[in-house]
Symmetry: C2
Subunit: 86 residues, 2 copies
């Protein structure tokens, strides 16, 4: 997803700014995802009140990748468990 | 993880800027995660060359949350499958 990819265009507001997200996913999905980013940025801002928006967005991305990597590892363990049971 | 949380301090470079990430995770894990964010920002920049860093970081976060939500759904299906097999 990005500002210049895919066919589906969805306008969203994230941390007070408008973005037009293009991608193959549904508008509902893009809105759900954008709301998560918006909430996470606001959450991080309360814990780091002096961060500017750029650094806040980068740290939000860091936090999400952290959760993604942990979930990925959990997923791999589940897949291993499923294979063992086959 | 954030700039003011946790005990472990790790200095990383993301998209040309230094961040001190504090958290309970190991430095190796934080470096791995930061490198993923750095790579994703650079990848998105090549597809959206006119984006400023703030918008680039927000869209990077959107892309990662998108992948996270899709992985989460995949994970829930796997867990359902595991339960059915019990």
């Amino acid at each position: 997803m990005g500002e210049k990819q895919g066919n589906e265009r969805t306008r969203v507001q994230i941390y007070g700014e408008e973005y037009t997200i293009k991608g193959t996913e549904s508008s509902d999905h893009i809105i759900e995802v954008s709301n998560i980013v918006d909430e996470k940025m606001k959450e991080l801002k309360t814990m780091n009140p002096y961060l500017d928006t750029k650094r806040l967005a980068v740290l939000t991305a860091v936090n999400i990748v952290n959760e993604y990597v942990l979930l990925k590892k959990e997923m791999q363990q589940l897949q291993k468990k499923l294979k063992e049971e086959e």
